[in-house]
């Protein structure tokens, strides 16, 4: 069956009234759980899974997929307004998104994120329809050595993100890597730093760590100021992104779509790496990188586009190989198994209504999300008018409930509080939580993949350079380091030459 026939059939499925209803339900639930801090798509889908046993398999996937990419839209909102990232992928959105909100530009931040998410989502759907099989082959060719290279590149990018001192960023990245070693050794199975606590066997939960460092840390910090302080102090100037905003973010959205789509295909850390890479790329390309971390709109547009595109392309390995790329897709895989449908290479032929129906429904769902989110931006921005004390208490409550829901484990709530305290201290001392959290995610991938590689290669390090993809990624990594050093030198030289006249011009401005 040709792609065109497939798409026609897909739309026939997706535009069925029942399926339209489920897509709408999915994206609505997704948006809501995305907005509620701590509650993520994983817990929600796990909870709703038994309900899907009664409906048609394709309708079930349409619903669950809607929840998944819907939550990617919703996750942006708390990242921007409250600095509460619900997902690893939206951690980078807090860097500039929250700064924009503090400057009264929450509206444009959310608007551009919604538009970017839509463009990224739709382009990824097109990519999914046209390129699924060849990209699936790319996904499996990613073995442990390639993940090592990717994680190394990611950690390099992490240290590049900070706005403050590079030394502090590096220190935090190192701390993140250390925290990632808590729990069972991925290869030998022995426990490390668990102090005999079974709750720590699986290590610290990412959501708990991120929520603590960013959200709770920020809440504590804001409560320290006077009672009357609003979550965001400046007046909310405009709700919509201006034409200039859109012009500035257009490039970021385009690049974010492609980057997110490609990286999302990779099982594992796809989502995080995609938003991270997009942020780093935008910062690199910017004429004035110092704007990043101070409310640069491209810093929101790029990563938000990328994580949406990646949440769509993550379906490629599942629908074409039967291999889920992350926990959410593993749940969707489970939902299909229960229904007697086994996702795999024959899915397109045996169940075209699932493959094409889901693709077409994603297009419909993204349209709905755009229509839902644009008017809601105005509503969500009003949240910032709530008094900080009330907002903080409410955010804390929902965060704790959400974090508990992930594993039904009270320990995670203590982890949130402990990291909240740490986040507050870091804020006071000028350390940024971003590098810590991202290195924490990448550290787990890096350790497991590195040790797997060593087992497979018999201890030889040569595989990293001799395998084309890992060699290529490592070459890019080295290139970035070299270019950074060279440009830093050159810039230092330029600054040095202009050192004398500059203070004079500042004086003149006064």
């Amino acid at each position: 069956m040709g792609v065109l026939d497939g798409i026609t059939q897909g739309f026939a499925v997706a535009l069925d009234p029942v399926n339209i209803l489920y897509v709408f339900l999915g994206v609505l639930i997704g948006t809501v759980i995305g907005v509620l801090p701590g509650l993520g798509p994983t817990a929600t889908i796990a909870l709703l899974l038994p309900l899907t046993y009664e409906i048609e398999p394709h309708t079930a996937v349409i619903l669950l997929a809607g929840i998944y990419y819907g939550s990617m839209y919703g996750g942006t909102i708390t990242s921007v307004l409250l600095r509460l990232p619900g997902e690893a992928a939206s951690v980078v959105t807090t860097f500039d998104g929250y700064e924009m909100a503090k400057q009264g530009r929450a509206g444009p931040a959310l608007g551009v994120a919604a538009i970017g998410s839509f463009v990224g989502g739709v382009l990824a759907v097109v990519g999914l329809a046209l390129l699924a099989p060849p990209l699936a082959a790319l996904a499996v060719s990613f073995g442990p050595p390639e993940y090592v290279a990717l994680a190394v590149l990611g950690i390099l990018l992490v240290t590049y993100l900070g706005t403050g001192s590079a030394l502090k960023s590096l220190a935090m990245a190192a701390l993140g890597l250390l925290l990632a070693t808590v729990g069972q050794d991925p290869i030998a199975g022995t426990t490390r730093f668990t102090f005999g606590q079974v709750a720590l066997f699986d290590g610290l939960d990412f959501v708990a760590v991120a929520m603590g460092l960013f959200g709770v840390g920020e809440i504590l910090h804001s409560l320290e100021r006077t009672e009357k302080v609003q979550a965001v102090t400046s007046r909310i100037r405009n709700i919509w992104p201006s034409r200039a905003d859109l012009r500035e973010s257009a490039g970021a959205i385009g690049r974010g779509s492609v980057l997110g789509f490609l990286i999302g295909v990779l099982p594992g850390g796809g989502g995080v790496v995609s938003s991270l890479a997009s942020y780093a790329l935008e910062k690199r390309r910017a004429k004035d990188p110092s704007r990043f971390g101070r409310g640069a709109i491209e810093g929101v547009a790029g990563p938000e586009t990328a994580n949406n595109a990646s949440s769509t392309s993550a379906f490629i390995p599942l629908l074409t190989l039967g291999i889920p790329a992350n926990v959410v897709l593993a749940l969707i895989f489970g939902a299909l198994l229960v229904q007697g449908v086994t996702p795999g290479p024959q899915l397109i032929d045996q169940h075209p209504e699932i493959f094409w129906g889901v693709i077409a429904s994603m297009f419909v769902g993204n349209l709905m999300l755009l229509a839902l989110n644009i008017p809601l931006v105005g509503v969500f921005v009003q949240i910032l008018r709530v008094r900080a004390g009330i907002l903080a208490a409410f955010a804390l409550l929902v965060t704790m409930a959400g974090v508990f829901s992930i594993n039904n484990d009270a320990t995670d709530m203590w982890v949130v509080l402990a990291f909240g305290l740490l986040g507050w201290l870091m804020k006071k001392t000028g350390f940024e939580p971003g590098p810590l959290v991202l290195a924490f995610v990448l550290g787990e991938i890096l350790e497991r993949a590195f040790r797997q590689t060593m087992l497979i290669s018999g201890g030889s390090l040569g595989v990293f350079v001799t395998r084309p993809i890992s060699g290529g990624i490592l070459a890019v990594t080295v290139l970035i380091v070299v270019i950074s050093i060279v440009t830093a030198r050159r810039r230092a030289g330029v600054l040095h030459r202009h050192d004398v006249p500059e203070p004079a011009s500042v004086e003149g401005d006064r």
Partner: protein
């Protein structure tokens, strides 16, 4: 009004006592409240699906709500600790997966051993399979073993976890038969499949569960050996035993139900009876996937024996790391 209530209550109490016969012991009315069935793994996984099918049957048969609760983490230890910290009254039960549940306490100090459990019965048994990708040069187990012996660094075997059944059983092959195999632990069977398809590991040792089947049917992978004593009707491959590895029969995963030790005997008996009926019920069998429901129902005593046997089998490997 008041008097009427009193009389009604007295009548009810009398009736209860009459039914019980042995006095006012609570278990006689079991179950009189909702039952928690803890699942040590995430929703949507094989254990969860099995628990929900069983739970539906139990609700129908016992007339009480069965709440399936997922408590993933620490390869099941989180769930078992929760189970063992609750009252041994039959209102908190847990799914268990052997040998993983045994390997847990053999490899780590988790604060419990098999004596802390009161086994109720077995629901499903999922056998294991040693698989290679279609492109692999190894057409049978003998070929793979010969390759491993010729170059000890050559053959890597991907397993779904570091301390799980398949990793332990692979190490037993090396220990008992002197076949140098490198165990490469992954995070779940799906990652093992990806590594196999990408040619990153030589072979994979995984459950022959529903998720493997499409890969076999499409010819992307083939099975070199299954880890059961007899051949399986749904996998076209010889057993380890008939290929010269008679000891390699311990990697079948047994999904069962356990209660905390100290749960009254009549309660266990009632639950065991319910499970026996469930494993004969056509709807439930379909929900569990008929292939994996044992032909002969295995009750509490059989599950207890399996615990002991598994412990003896893996003690060596667990100690050796």
């Amino acid at each position: 009004m008041n008097r009427f209530r009193l009389i009604a209550a007295a009548a009810a109490a009398l009736l209860l006592a009459a039914c019980g016969g042995q006095g006012s012991e609570e278990p006689e009315a079991y179950p009189s409240d909702q039952i928690r069935l803890i699942v040590p793994y995430t929703a949507g996984g094989p254990t969860d699906i099995a628990a929900r099918s069983l739970g539906t049957f139990m609700e129908r048969s016992l007339g009480q709500t069965v709440v399936v609760e997922n408590m993933p983490g620490a390869s099941g230890s989180t769930a078992y600790q929760e189970l063992l910290s609750s009252e041994p009254d039959g209102y908190t039960l847990s799914m268990s997966a052997l040998p993983t549940a045994v390997l847990n306490y053999l490899t780590n100090d988790v604060g419990y051993t098999r004596d802390d459990f009161a086994p109720v019965g077995v629901i499903t048994q999922v056998p294991s399979a040693l698989v290679v990708p279609a492109a692999s040069p190894h057409t049978d187990l003998a070929g793979l073993v010969a390759a491993a012996r010729s170059d000890p660094a050559l053959v890597s075997v991907g397993t779904p976890g570091a301390t799980n059944t398949h990793a332990a059983e692979t190490r037993r092959i090396t220990q008992l038969y002197d076949v140098p195999l490198t165990v490469v632990p992954f995070n779940g069977a799906q990652e093992v499949f990806a590594a196999l398809l990408g040619g990153n590991v030589t072979a994979g040792f995984v459950n022959a569960s529903q998720d493997l089947m499409p890969l076999l049917e499409s010819g992307q992978m083939r099975v070199l050996a299954v880890g059961t004593e007899e051949r399986l009707p749904y996998v076209d491959a010889p057993t380890f035993a008939e290929q010269g590895f008679p000891e390699i029969t311990q990697s079948t995963t047994t999904f069962g139900v356990v209660a905390p030790a100290g749960t009254p005997e009549p309660v266990i008996a009632k639950l065991e009876e319910t499970m026996r009926a469930a494993s004969a019920d056509p709807d439930t069998r379909r929900g569990l996937d008929e292939r994996y429901v044992p032909e002969q129902f295995l009750g509490g005593a059989d599950l207890a024996a399996l615990f002991t046997e598994t412990e003896q089998t893996f003690q060596e490997v667990a100690r050796g790391g």
